[in-house]
């Protein structure tokens, strides 16, 4: 094991003319500076860009003005899709205090194989690609993003950043380190493995619906 490691690294260092122990200035510098490459530009506002790209990857959205409207927006979605009044919601603080109607079955946990509808909260949105960024953790179980047929995700509009690079900066400043799983999600699951025909709902959610929260107070 250690011999293999030494053999591989030794070959690499020898070819590259490095003395194994030498401090690699260029490497340290690059890791600290984290330079960005060319950044794609667009004329629309971030919100417009996000929503246009979301639509392009077959995602849908509903706009809500305050967190008190979450239950109503979810009800509208379940009704439109003819779904039972049952969902699994992430144990996220932004979903605490939501008053779900009495008749509903709402669980606050990670998802299981037969959960039909999931609701989570995005860490941020990426305008460039219409993607949601979710960070695994006690308040954001990764299984919720993948197992349910319908994936609903709350995104405060104030948390749409231009590009993936901006999302990394936000993550570094707010969290300091990457969680176990950092998911960038762009639309519902899809496959083109049968005759290159795009079919939604391969293994992950068949539908993705964003609840865009415009209330600046979050």
């Amino acid at each position: 094991m250690t011999e293999r490691r030494a053999a591989i690294l030794g070959r690499l260092s020898k070819t590259l003319g490095h003395t194994a122990a030498a401090a690699a200035d260029a490497v340290t510098q690059r890791l600290n500076a984290r330079p960005r490459g060319p950044q794609p530009q667009w004329p629309e506002t971030m919100r417009e860009r996000f929503l246009a790209r979301l639509a392009r990857v077959s995602g849908t959205f509903a706009e809500i003005g305050a967190r008190t409207e979450i239950a109503h927006a979810v009800a509208g979605y379940l009704d439109a899709q003819h779904l039972a009044l049952r969902l699994v919601a992430a144990p996220h603080p932004l979903l605490d205090g939501v008053e779900w109607p009495e008749a509903w079955q709402v669980a606050r946990r990670h998802a299981q194989g037969d959960d039909r509808v999931g609701l989570a909260v995005a860490f941020c949105g990426i305008a460039e690609s219409g993607s949601l960024m979710l960070l695994s953790g006690p308040d954001s179980p990764t299984t919720l993003n993948f197992l349910p047929d319908d994936f609903l995700c709350l995104l405060p509009a104030s948390r749409i950043v231009p590009r993936m690079e901006d999302a990394w900066d936000l993550l570094r400043s707010e969290r300091g380190r990457l969680p176990r799983a950092t998911n960038f999600i762009s639309g519902p699951s899809r496959t083109a493995d049968v005759e290159q025909t795009i079919q939604l709902g391969a293994h992950g959610p068949r539908r993705l619906h964003v609840l865009l929260l415009s209330d600046a107070s979050g």
Binding site: M1, R4, R5, A7, I8, L9, R11, T15, L16, H18, A24, A26, V27, R30, L31, R34, R36, G37, P38, P40, Q41, R53, V57, P91, R109, H110, G113, S129, S131, S136, P138, T142, T143, N145, F146, R163, E165, W168, R177, L178, P179, R180, A181, T182, N183, I185, S186, G187, S189, R190, T191, A192, D193, V194, E195, Q196, Q199, A202, H203, G204
Partner: protein, 473 residues
């Protein structure tokens, strides 16, 4: 998998007469090309990104030892483990050890080309584990007991009817016996069958598109979400990655991702892009308890700094396959091993030996389309020519070709003889062709003349015409 690259000629012949394959290839080819074109047209910064992307990979390769060490350090700091493997056997042994230690029975796999390279499925099955491919394309070819025929669309050679038939034979479960006709029916049935497997799996194996030195993360891109389920539901997550996948920072990966999706499927981004960083944290609601990265060399450290160094920039997008006229005509299986198309014709001889892979670099017109579309600007035709050169140097070229080349080389180095002999040959051919001016069949080239005529040379030699023209100007 035992390579059959030496039989490329016979494989290709068979492929050209396989109606199902030809039907499937015709459907796929133009789709990939058109989608890539429109995705790139939609991003004016693409060329600038391509230049920067190449620079990132060049820098990472020039410091590969340092970045691998940093990556390893960070994986360990996150609570994961790194296993180094020089050969496919060592890599498989590392995977088997982990699976045995975990007391595993079922292994769920996301798509990994390195997994194909080291034949990890055979190793796992041989040791008594149940292995389930979860990418739909990989699942289809697993059922069919076939290798992938494309690095991003493994079942591109199968028609819908073939897949429906395969499912009907394999899924003997109640409720799953209705005849499948449409694409949604096929995808739904696979979803249902594989969902059970995900939930039953003890170990999940995924590949990695990138490794991040800064954070010790491994990155996968998928559209189905199967890689994420494989990495989240089982107790143990194993990442199989080759050593050249490491890049310095998250920013570097962000840039390369813009090139990858567009070049591969013509998407702006894949549906799921995930960065895995270690095992489940103390207060996490889900995720695996253990996180292992198996770093596979398999000849790459020897490619570094050598004639094929630039091949290490490859990000496995498959654009060179999609734009290759040879791949488009014969499909991936004819190449006889894991990697097909132009990138495969460079890699296969390096990984299975030039003796076995010899026909692949020769099965190319060197038209250059692959290099044009490569997001990493890898000079694939140059690398294919290098293989041909090696083949000659190592005397692997058959005597008749060596002799013909030697004769040509003798003339090419003596311009006066060359001119005289070509004048003579032209005259002779013109006389032999007679008034018809073309040959209906030629000795030694009957396969070529079977479907076309060879026109006899007319007018003067090139040199004579050139002289005449320059005099007129």
């Amino acid at each position: 998998m035992k390579p059959t690259s030496h039989a490329f000629s016979a494989n290709a012949h068979q492929a050209l007469h396989d109606t199902n394959l030809q039907q499937a290839l015709a459907k796929a080819g133009a789709g990939f090309v058109d989608k890539r074109r429109s995705a790139i047209d939609g991003l004016p910064e693409f060329e600038a990104l391509r230049v920067s992307g190449r620079a990132i990979k060049d820098h990472a390769l020039a410091n590969l030892d340092h970045y691998l060490l940093r990556f390893e350090q960070q994986v360990i700091a996150n609570g994961g483990q790194v296993h180094w493997a020089e050969t496919p056997d060592e890599a498989c042994a590392a995977v088997l050890d982990i699976c045995r230690a975990a007391g595993a029975k079922v292994v769920a796999k996301g798509k990994t080309m390195v997994g194909e390279e080291i034949a990890v499925n055979e190793a796992l099955e041989g040791a008594g584990f149940e292995v389930v491919e979860t990418d739909l394309g990989e699942y289809i070819i697993q059922l069919a007991h076939e290798p992938p025929s494309h690095i991003i669309a493994p079942a591109v050679h199968k028609t819908r009817a073939q897949i429906a038939e395969l499912f009907e034979h394999q899924h003997h479960q109640p409720g799953l016996t209705r005849p499948l006709e449409t694409v949604p029916q096929i995808v739904d049935e696979a979803r249902q069958v594989l969902r059970e497997k995900f939930l039953a799996a003890d170990v999940g194996i995924t590949g990695a598109n990138f490794l991040i030195a800064e954070t010790g993360s491994t990155v996968i891109v998928t559209n189905e979400g199967n890689g994420d389920l494989s990495a989240t539901l089982p107790r143990v997550h194993i990442v199989l990655a080759s050593i050249e996948k490491v890049v310095p920072t998250l920013e570097d990966a962000s840039l390369l991702l813009r090139l990858l999706a567009r070049s591969a499927t013509g998407q702006e981004t894949t549906t799921y892009t995930t960065f895995f960083t270690g095992p489940r944290r103390a207060d996490d609601a889900d995720g695996p308890d253990a996180f292992h990265v198996v770093l596979v060399d398999n000849g790459r450290s020897q490619m570094l700094g050598g004639a094929y160094h630039e091949m290490l920039r490859c990000i496995r997008c498959g654009a060179c396959l999609n734009h290759c006229p040879v791949y488009g005509a014969v499909g991936g299986h004819a190449y006889g091993w894991v990697y097909p198309g132009p990138m495969g014709a460079v890699l296969t001889p390096l990984m299975v030996g030039l003796q076995e892979g010899r026909p692949l670099p020769n099965a190319s017109t060197l038209c250059g389309r692959c290099e044009e579309v490569c997001p990493m600007s890898i000079p694939l035709p140059k690398l294919l020519r290098e293989h041909r050169r090696q083949e000659f140097v190592r005397r692997l070229v058959p005597p008749r070709s060596r002799w013909a080349l030697a004769v040509w080389a003798w003339f090419a180095r003596r311009p006066r003889h060359y001119r005289w002999s070509s004048l003579l040959a032209m005259g002779l051919l013109g006389w032999l062709a007679g008034s018809r001016g073309r040959f209906r069949s030629l000795p030694f080239a009957q396969a070529w003349t079977a479907s076309r005529d060879l026109p006899a040379p007319q007018g003067g030699t090139f040199m004579a015409q050139w002289k005449r023209r320059t005099r007129h100007d």
